[in-house]
């Protein structure tokens, strides 16, 4: 199937093309927003039309019997393994945000009428492994994650691909963070060799007094955009960290909207971007403080370093504020490694490459070290080093 | 007041006030005698700062009952700026920074507002600068202090000196010094005290709010009032200071 055929189509045509029935409101939302293109604000720096305009083979998403494993494993959009006692379901989605800004959020829901629902129980650590095995395919699936009140959960999301090529993954989660709970989501995604491209479109609801921590580690090449919408209730908080370390012809990044709805809600968003090769990094992040969200605190920062003359960073840290009882600030810088620091290290006998590595890691470390679990932190560090050595082959 | 028939300039009667949901002042009585130095001492949380805020009409305070009269008139209904123009001055414990507002410009505006209120002629820039020069010298302040932004980037000591500079310039009648000695080194403390003592002319009245007695070595008080749990529990002469130093506030018996 070629998704570009959905461009500028009426509701009826879309319903026919996607073969959907009785999901009128979703079709309408998708038709109104339209298939994204270069003029769509959040896709402005990401060439989405080129990715959509390909004849992909479509797959079947018939639920399989779930084997017992140490993590949740999703192969080509179908759950194959889950830890014992983990509640994983395949069912129609009941909680779709009818006011999302991203049309691919709706396309994802239209393409995947049944979602994978993961109910996290109690205080725990859960690992989700996404695996892709099909070439030239459109892999589409969506997850709904919910936790329980007063519980503290950490989830690790990892991505693997077999030796495939030219696949497009349309994925995303709807996350419901229950009252008084904490949910940490640590994502590590290393991409290279054009195995697959991805657009992930998420929605996160943070209930009263709940905390969510999203930590993204996006390394390597290829193309992937994470579109994220977060809504914060009263006294809710989000801490979002985005580390991009890109090389080759990569185009990756985040387009996010964090919306403060409840009073005393807080958001802290920090992006660090390291661009090597001909990579393009994207950080298009909006924090909106609605009229109802008095006493809000919002803080946003984006720091970028360009390591190669062909690298390119597009930063758009934005504040949209409709109330005066708040504290909000943002900052963004783009620069390069400090020559003096490099020289200092070299003068102590450290090779140029190692000195660069030390400084690049130092720049990234504030985010990496926020991952407290040492095993996962080490995994992120070694993935980071692998990208470094791949781009600095002497 | 216990002693004599001297003229009282401010009278606080049965004052009850709260901040947020918490009642802090619980029927406070206090009379300030004109021309004297009154020290308010008491443990943390006794309501010392709340008392000073109530006198100047701070937005945090809600008055629940009682009255404050100044020169025989109730001031509770007066706006903060009216109280200031009538001669009540508070030296803030933590003076706020106001970026971009030139210190001299601010002070001249305040002074001219006061002169206008008194029906006097306003000062022009040259007269004002001359006045400043003397004050700055006395306080050991660098002359560039008045061309900087109001309190912005000032050290703790500089902020307190700046408060005293304002006091000297505005010549108020009732002067409330809220923890004026906190965060001051010995030189700053001396300069600040000198400024205060210069204002002691037998007419102006001082209300020195302090947790420690250190400042009282420099500014001799006429009366000590001990504040505890939102009330003045004892009023005595300066002889109470060494007693307090030795025994703390717990040993005080109520009057």
């Amino acid at each position: 199937m070629n998704l570009i055929t959905l461009k500028n189509k009426s509701r009826e045509e879309i319903a026919t093309l996607l073969d959907v029935k009785e999901r009128d409101s979703l079709v309408e939302k998708f038709a109104t927003l339209g298939l994204p293109n270069k003029k769509t604000e959040e896709y402005h720096y990401f060439d989405v039309e080129k990715l959509l305009d390909v004849d992909y083979k479509t797959l079947n998403y018939i639920p399989k019997a779930i084997e017992e494993g140490d993590k949740i494993e999703i192969i080509d959009g179908v759950v194959t393994k889950a830890p014992k006692g983990m509640r994983v379901y395949s069912e129609p989605c009941e909680s779709i945000d009818m006011d999302h800004f991203d049309s691919l959020y709706y396309l994802g829901h239209l393409l995947s009428p049944r979602i994978i629902r993961i109910e996290v129980d109690g205080d725990c650590h859960v690992e989700i492994l996404h695996k892709y095995t099909q070439s030239d395919a459109l892999i589409n699936y969506r997850i709904v994650i919910s936790n329980q009140a007063n519980r503290h959960t950490t989830m690790y999301e990892n991505f693997e691909a077999e030796d495939i090529h030219n696949t497009l993954v349309l994925y995303g989660y709807d996350m419901h963070v229950a009252q008084d709970s904490t949910l940490r989501m640590v994502k590590l995604q290393v991409m290279h060799d054009n195995k697959y491209s991805m657009v992930a479109s998420h929605k996160v609801n943070v209930a009263k007094n709940a905390n969510v921590l999203l930590k993204n580690f996006d390394f390597g090449g290829d193309q992937s955009l994470q579109v994220l919408k977060v809504e914060l209730g009263e006294h809710a908080s989000i801490e979002a960290g985005h580390l991009l370390y890109l090389n080759e012809n990569s185009k990756r990044g985040t387009a996010s909207q964090i919306i403060h709805r409840g009073e005393h809600s807080t958001s802290k968003q920090e992006a660090k971007n390291i661009l090597d090769g001909q990579a393009r990094g994207i950080f298009d992040a909006l924090i909106r403080v609605e009229h109802s969200a008095r006493f809000t605190k919002a803080e946003q920062s984006a720091k970028s370093i360009l390591l190669h003359e062909k690298a390119y960073m597009a930063s758009k840290p934005q504040l949209e504020i409709y109330i005066d009882e708040l504290e909000a600030s943002h900052g963004a810088t783009t620069g390069q490694l400090d020559e003096k620091q490099l020289f200092y290290l070299q003068s102590r006998g450290i090779s140029y490459i190692e000195a660069r590595k030390i400084l690049v890691i130092a720049f990234a470390n504030t985010l990496i070290e926020q991952v407290k679990d040492t095993r996962h932190q080490d995994r992120i560090k070694s993935a980071f080093e692998a990208v470094f050595y791949a781009s600095n082959k002497g | 007041m216990s002693k004599g028939n001297n003229k009282s300039v401010m009278k606080i009667e049965n004052l009850q006030a709260k901040i947020g949901d918490k009642q802090i002042l619980k029927g406070l009585n206090l009379e300030l005698e004109a021309g004297k130095v009154h020290a308010i001492m008491g443990p943390n949380g006794a309501g010392k700062s709340t008392l000073s805020k109530a006198i100047v009409g701070h937005y945090d305070i809600e008055i629940l009952g009682g009255d404050i009269t100044y020169k025989d008139k109730s001031i509770l209904e007066m706006e903060a700026e009216e109280r200031a123009l009538e001669g009540i001055f508070l030296s803030f414990q933590h003076p706020v920074e106001i970026p971009g507002v030139n210190n001299a410009y601010f002070l001249r505006t305040a002074l001219n507002a006061k002169l206008k209120h008194q029906g006097k002629d306003e000062l022009n820039a040259a007269e004002f600068l001359r006045l400043m020069k003397g004050h700055l010298e006395m306080l050991g302040m660098k002359s560039d202090m008045i061309s900087r932004s109001l309190n912005e980037g000032f050290s703790g000591g500089e902020k307190k000196r700046n408060e005293i500079l304002q006091m000297l310039t505005l010549e108020p009648e009732v002067i409330i010094l809220d923890e004026i000695d906190s965060g001051l080194d010995i030189d700053a403390l001396r300069a600040v005290s000198e400024g205060i003592n210069k204002m002691k002319d037998g007419k102006r009245t001082f209300l020195v709010i302090t947790h420690y007695s250190r400042i009282l070595d420099y500014i001799e008080p006429d009366y000590i009032h001990v504040l505890k749990d939102g009330k003045v529990i004892k009023t005595a002469g300066p002889e109470l200071v060494p007693y307090l130093e030795e025994h703390g506030y717990d040993g005080i018996e109520e009057d």
Binding site: M313, A314, S315, P317 | L170
Partner: protein, 479 residues
């Protein structure tokens, strides 16, 4: 806090809303090729100019009005606007200005009488009422220095070579919808040429006044600073209080050659409309400067207090190596005003530098948006940008939005952007009041402090004006 005090402090009356009682020569509303022919004829333009106007109109007709800005306004009916209006007296006597106009300008604080100005603070003025320039002062004196200071209509007649070379060179005819409209219907505006090595001996300024009903004002300004020259130019504007919206779509082009500098200041005080959004000027303006040569420098300073809608992004194309672009802005939105304003800094040359200082103040129902692009091309080795965008909110119904676009393709380039949003703190207000300063004065003092970095960029006499204007806009007291 006493909210009435604050409301009073931020709802100042518009003091310049009077009407000049003169007879106006005005054409029927509507826009087509005939309208352009009419304007061109009135201006005694050469044929080539009319051809360019027609070309622009054709392009405009294929374009659509942009709606990406954070602005909400009623649709504009371009056919219901009259595109030419001029004081009638003008037609009879070109040298004599109607005394009523002179009087009106005095009332606006601008003297068109050279004799009356104080020696030492000479400011040359081009006075534009509706579609025509009524008077340009000091032209003769400036001519001695080789400086050309005249209305753009005169320049089209007298300096066709300069016009042909530079007009549309910075803002192309079809750059955007409003620029294309302006290119077709522009009526008057100012032309300045500063020859090589000349430091313009006085401040130049233009004062725009909309007076006629149902018209739009579409002025066009072109300033060329030849190698090694310097000029400081200022523009001001105002309009009568009216219930209908009026459109103002201007284009300003600045060309700065090697080692030259232009300092361009604007005090924009178009009628803002009332607190319900009734009336007020729709201000859609395209301003752009190109630093053509090495070490060229351009500095935009704007104080935007008026207009119902402001859509304006004075930009700098930093083409010459080591060229410098600066943007200093204070934008105030109170009542129901909306402003979407900022800048574009396009770094092309090596070691180019740009600075952006933007101060937005929102009060009552005002919506204030900073939108700015900093683009460092790969060729701009060693380019630097520093941006600071602060918003001050007064009241709970206003909005402040910051949308910076930062694009860097240069490994040696450096971009730094900082933004804060805050309100006037109760603590600051109280501190000043405790010293006997009224709440109104305290608010205005804090707001001035907030804008200081920008005001300090204005030429002395205009800084005073800007300060007074801000006070007027934000205070209850008139006069």
């Amino acid at each position: 806090m006493a909210n009435e005090g604050l409301d009073k402090a931020v709802s100042g009356e518009y003091a310049l809303g009077f009407e000049i009682d003169i007879e106006t020569d005005i054409i029927e509303p509507g826009l087509d090729a005939d309208t352009l022919a009419f304007i061109s004829k009135k201006k005694e333009e050469p044929e080539w100019m009319l051809e360019l106007r027609i070309k622009a109109l054709k392009k405009w007709e294929t374009m659509t009005e942009p709606h990406w800005a954070h602005l909400d306004y009623e649709p504009i009916d371009y056919q219901s606007i009259s595109y030419y209006a001029a004081p009638k007296e003008m037609i009879d006597s070109l040298d004599e200005v109607d005394p009523k106009i002179l009087e009106a300008y005095e009332k606006l604080g601008i003297s068109l009488d050279e004799q009356k100005q104080l020696a030492g603070v000479k400011v040359a003025v081009d006075a534009v009422v509706d579609s025509v320039s009524v008077k340009t002062t000091y032209s003769a004196e400036l001519e001695k220095h080789g400086v050309i200071f005249c209305s753009i209509s005169e320049a089209i007649r007298d300096y066709p070579e300069l016009i042909k070379k530079y007009m549309f060179s910075v803002v192309p005819m079809a750059d955007n919808y409003f620029a294309a409209l302006n290119s077709a219907v522009f009526t008057d505006g100012t032309f300045v040429y500063i020859p090589k090595g000349v430091r313009c001996p006085m401040e130049l300024s233009t004062y725009f006044r909309i007076n006629a009903t149902n018209t739009g004002q579409f002025e066009r300004t072109l300033i060329i600073a030849d190698e090694g020259s310097y000029v400081s130019y200022n523009e001001g504007c105002s309009a009568p209080t009216r219930d209908e919206h009026q459109l103002h779509a201007a284009v300003v082009e600045l060309i700065i050659l090697k080692d030259a500098e232009i300092k361009y200041s604007t005090i924009q005080n178009w009628y803002p409309g009332d607190e319900t959004g009734k009336g007020g000027i729709y201000n859609f303006v395209t301003k752009r400067a190109i630093c053509e040569g090495e070490n060229a420098k351009v500095s935009w300073t704007q104080v935007e207090t008026g207009s119902a809608i402001t859509w304006k992004y004075p930009s700098c194309i930093l083409k010459g190596d080591n060229s410098v672009g600066e943007f200093y802005s204070v934008a105030v939105t109170t009542l129901a005003q909306q402003a979407d304003t900022g800048t574009k800094m396009i770094h092309i040359g090596k070691n180019t530098k740009s600075t952006i200082i933007s101060k937005g103040i929102s009060a009552m129902k005002g919506q204030n948006t900073y939108r700015g692009l900093v683009k460092i091309n790969a060729s701009a080795v060693g380019a630097r940008n520093y941006s600071e965008c602060d918003s001050l909110l007064i009241g709970s119904e206003c909005g402040a939005h910051t949308f910076p676009y930062l694009e860097s393709k240069d490994t040696q380039g450096q971009i730094e952007h900082e933004a804060t949003t805050s309100k006037i703190s109760d603590e600051q207000l109280f501190y000043l009041r405790q010293r006997g300063i009224t709440e109104e004065d305290a608010v205005s003092m804090i707001v001035h402090g907030f804008c200081k970095q920008v005001f300090s960029q204005l030429p002395m006499e205009y800084a005073v004006e800007a300060k007074a204007l801000l006070e007027l806009t934000l205070e209850g007291s008139v006069g």
